[in-house]
């Protein structure tokens, strides 16, 4: 008769067997679902395997309608504003209930939507920044919007600088919504007190020359600095290099002319580590508000918050130029995309929501409350918008700079490329590292990004 006593050896053997079974199970990797081809022309807008993610409780006054879900990449004030817009939509009609949930920021949305695709439980509408939607387009997760366009709602009503970024394969996958550009903010009160030029467009060299005068002021017992870099300046770095007359990539060619890159990087490093009038801040806007530094850059979407936060007169100007004055600025912010799900009814309802938010009234309303660009051309004529621009010219500066907005280089369409750029500048302004090795390392990383995505980029016409 066998000894049936359970020993540690027996238990470990069983755990080993269980692990083997788990290994076999894990070999069954996720497989392509129905209609998982890229969302190019001719593919169905529906994916029967993609169900709606959990909605939460529906308020009693909205029950019995077609329910749609939006995952918002905003928190705090910006989420409150968009949530109010959704309430206005829900109250404006009786057929659709649009639920909104905050998932955090853009990076959180990226992660959560990725997980949702694997779980096949997705929202009906998403809002990705710049060109990050492309990854999901190639995964067949997004539906084209063109079939929903009408005489009143189509691409012609939007600011054209933002329209091209939402198209692939002759179809539209994103309509602009919370779009922005970087802008230069400065302490107008301090500049005026020192007799420095205000209401103008600066060059980086000019700002650097102002350093000693600005340092004559003190805040918290320290000389005030001219400008604050951060460790996450990847978006702004496109404008910097355009100002210095260069480009990060030209098609698949990385830094085709190293000269301007060398000038830019040398300038940033020396401003911090030779002059000492610029520095890498932990939180540049906090330092700006508390008077430790007189100038920062930020999104136009920061204008409303900064205006209310500072206790001095806020100045806003075009991004500084150098060789090119004023320079091009990168487009930023996000737009709405329709998710390929199992329900045509919900997709139709989602398009109705996009139409509502794309009216001049709502675009103007959102611009005034958020600071994002009024993406609908006609929104500038809304009385509320006119009044704002008449009383606060900073908002007008943001609108006028739109003429210089341009899409960033393809290597920066991907988070890995942006991160490589950020790390390079963080090392220059933080550690004062040598310029040439920084350029060489960055070149390798950007080339890797382009190579990893070569097929997708070529499909989009990048050459």
């Amino acid at each position: 008769m066998h000894d049936r006593t359970l020993t540690r050896r027996h238990l470990l053997a069983m755990l080993g067997a269980g692990a083997g079974a788990a290994a076999l199970a894990s070999c069954s990797l996720p497989t392509a679902g129905a209609g998982s081809d890229a969302g190019g022309a001719g593919s169905s807008a529906l994916r029967p395997d993609m169900k709606q993610a959990a909605l939460g409780e529906i308020p009693s006054q909205y029950r019995g309608r077609t329910n749609i879900l939006f995952w918002a990449p905003w928190t705090g004030h910006l989420f409150d504003v968009i949530a109010e817009a959704f309430t206005m939509f829900n109250d404006s009609q009786t057929d659709i209930y649009a639920a909104i949930e905050s998932v955090g920021g853009y990076a959180d949305l990226h992660t959560q939507f990725t997980a949702a695709l694997q779980a096949k439980a997705v929202p009906d509408m998403v809002c990705f920044p710049e060109l990050q939607w492309l990854q999901f387009y190639f995964a067949g997760a997004l539906a084209p919007l063109d079939p929903y366009f009408t005489d009143e709602w189509n691409l012609d009503i939007y600011l054209q600088s933002y329209v091209g970024e939402g198209r692939a394969g002759d179809e539209t996958y994103v309509v602009p919504f919370a779009r922005s550009t970087p802008i230069f903010y400065y302490n107008k009160t301090a500049f005026t007190e020192l007799g420095l030029p205000v209401d103008t467009t600066y060059t980086w060299s000019q700002l650097r020359e102002l350093g000693p005068e600005i340092a004559s002021l003190t805040s918290s017992g320290q000389p005030v600095r001219t400008f604050a870099y951060s460790a996450a300046d990847g978006w702004y770095a496109s404008s910097w290099l355009w100002a210095f007359g260069g480009a990060w990539t030209d098609g698949f060619d990385v830094m085709p002319d190293e000269g301007p890159v060398r000038d830019l990087m040398g300038f940033a490093r020396d401003w911090v580590h030779v002059d000492g009038h610029a520095y890498q801040a932990q939180a540049p806007h906090t330092d700006f508000q508390t008077g430790l530094v007189t100038a920062v850059h930020g999104s136009t979407a920061s204008m409303r918050g900064l205006t209310e936060a500072v206790d001095f007169e806020l100045g806003a100007a075009f991004m500084p130029g150098e060789v090119d004055q004023p320079p091009l600025v990168p487009t930023g912010g996000s737009g709405f995309s329709l998710v390929r799900t199992d329900s045509k009814e919900r997709q139709d309802a989602t398009a109705e929501l996009m139409k509502f938010l794309g009216t001049p009234q709502m675009s103007g309303w959102y611009h005034v409350r958020s600071g994002y660009v009024p993406v609908v051309e006609a929104a500038r004529d809304e009385p509320e918008v006119r009044e704002l621009h008449a009383t606060d010219p900073n908002f007008t500066v943001a609108i006028e700079q739109l003429a210089n907005a341009q899409t960033v280089a393809p290597a920066l369409w991907f988070q890995a490329g942006v991160q490589a750029l950020e790390k390079s500048f963080a090392s220059l302004t933080g550690d004062g590292v040598e310029v040439q090795p920084t350029i060489d390392a960055l070149r390798v990383e950007l080339e890797d990004v382009l190579e990893d995505n070569r097929d997708d980029l070529e499909a989009l016409g990048v050459s």
């Binding site: 540690r8 269980g18 998982s36 918290s220 932990q282 988070q415 890995a416």
Partner: protein, 318 residues
């Protein structure tokens, strides 16, 4: 289950048990077995589902190229490991940073925790308050500790500026320069864990057998000699426990890095878990991330095995 088996072996065999008693014993064994399985199966299932399965699935993912979005990963064999192990790879930086971080935080908290625990055990005035204060940081979430230290380290308006100004120096830029960023996360993490180690040592010291100390005192042992030759050896099981859990916890630290330095500047404060996160959720390079996670798993396994081997020789349980 070892105890169960030992008890079986220890039980004297009956000389010639009648058939009826044998059946009773079988039923008792059956009942005991059923109870055993009823108690252990839920835990076993949880370990398999949440421990073994993800580990093995991660191993499979490390052999693929996947961005999390494409419907299916593509098998690439050992390419991810080859890429990770090539000279100049970021893995080398992450390994070096992790080693420094783990060694300094574990050794620092063990030495500091033992000292504080021993002082608390003296039952001096206000030791209750000190005990509570020492343990409090351990109750805070890592993210809160990170944010707190972000303010303390701020060279413009933080405590750091004040302290360095007292000696006529400028505060280092703790989180924005490579020379200090690793030390910033090390200090913040050590501060959080120190109280936990101190309280464990304190409780263990109170539990040490008094008669041994009395005997040692009769033999003339005093002060440091008593502490060195009696207290420290008697605490070796606790030291072993704190070392193993300390190494594993430190090697997995993420939240403090996320709030203080984001692994930068460059890779100066990038540790293995941060590297795994960046590769997975910033670069969306799941295969490489899974390969880094596997490397981390193997390293932790080896370190723990070595610690266990050493413990067999150095730890005294009685």
């Amino acid at each position: 289950m070892t105890v169960l088996a030992d008890r079986r072996r220890a039980r004297p065999r009956p000389p010639a048990a009648p058939r009826r008693r044998s059946a009773t014993r079988t039923r008792a064994l059956l009942r005991e077995g059923l109870l055993f399985w009823a108690l252990i199966l839920p835990n076993l299932a949880a370990i398999v589902v949440f421990g073994y399965y993800p580990t093995l699935y991660n191993l499979v993912l490390s052999l693929t190229d996947w961005d999390f979005v494409q419907p299916a990963p593509v098998l690439v064999g050992l390419d991810n490991y080859v890429e990770l192990l090539r000279p100049g790879s970021v893995l080398a930086d992450a390994l070096r940073n992790t080693t420094v971080f783990v060694l300094v935080t574990v050794l620092g908290t063990m030495v500091g925790g033992l000292a504080i625990g021993a002082l608390l055990a003296q039952r001096l005035r206000l030791s209750g308050v000190v005990r509570t204060l020492a343990f409090a940081p351990h109750m805070l979430p890592g993210a809160a500790v990170g944010v707190l230290w972000l303010f303390l380290f701020d060279p413009s308006y933080g405590l750091s500026r004040w302290l360095f100004e007292m000696v006529g120096a400028d505060s280092p830029r703790w989180t924005t320069t490579s020379d200090f960023s690793l030390w910033a996360i090390t200090i913040a993490y050590a501060w959080q864990r120190l109280g936990f180690v101190a309280i464990i040592y304190y409780a263990a010291i109170l539990d040490l057998p008094r008669d041994l100390y009395e005997a040692a005192a009769l033999d003339g042992a005093r002060g440091w000699s008593l502490f060195r030759h009696l207290t420290i050896p008697l605490l070796s099981p606790i030291t072993f426990f704190l070392t193993v859990t300390g190494v594993i916890a430190a090697a997995q630290t993420f939240d403090i890095i996320a709030t203080l330095t984001n692994g930068g500047p460059g890779t100066s404060s990038t540790t293995l878990p941060w590297l795994v996160y960046e590769q997975a959720f910033v670069s969306f390079d799941i295969g490489t991330s899974a390969a880094s996670a596997t490397v981390m798993f193997v390293l932790l396994l080896v370190v723990t095995l070595v610690q266990t081997r050493v413990a067999h020789r150095q730890v005294h349980y009685s």
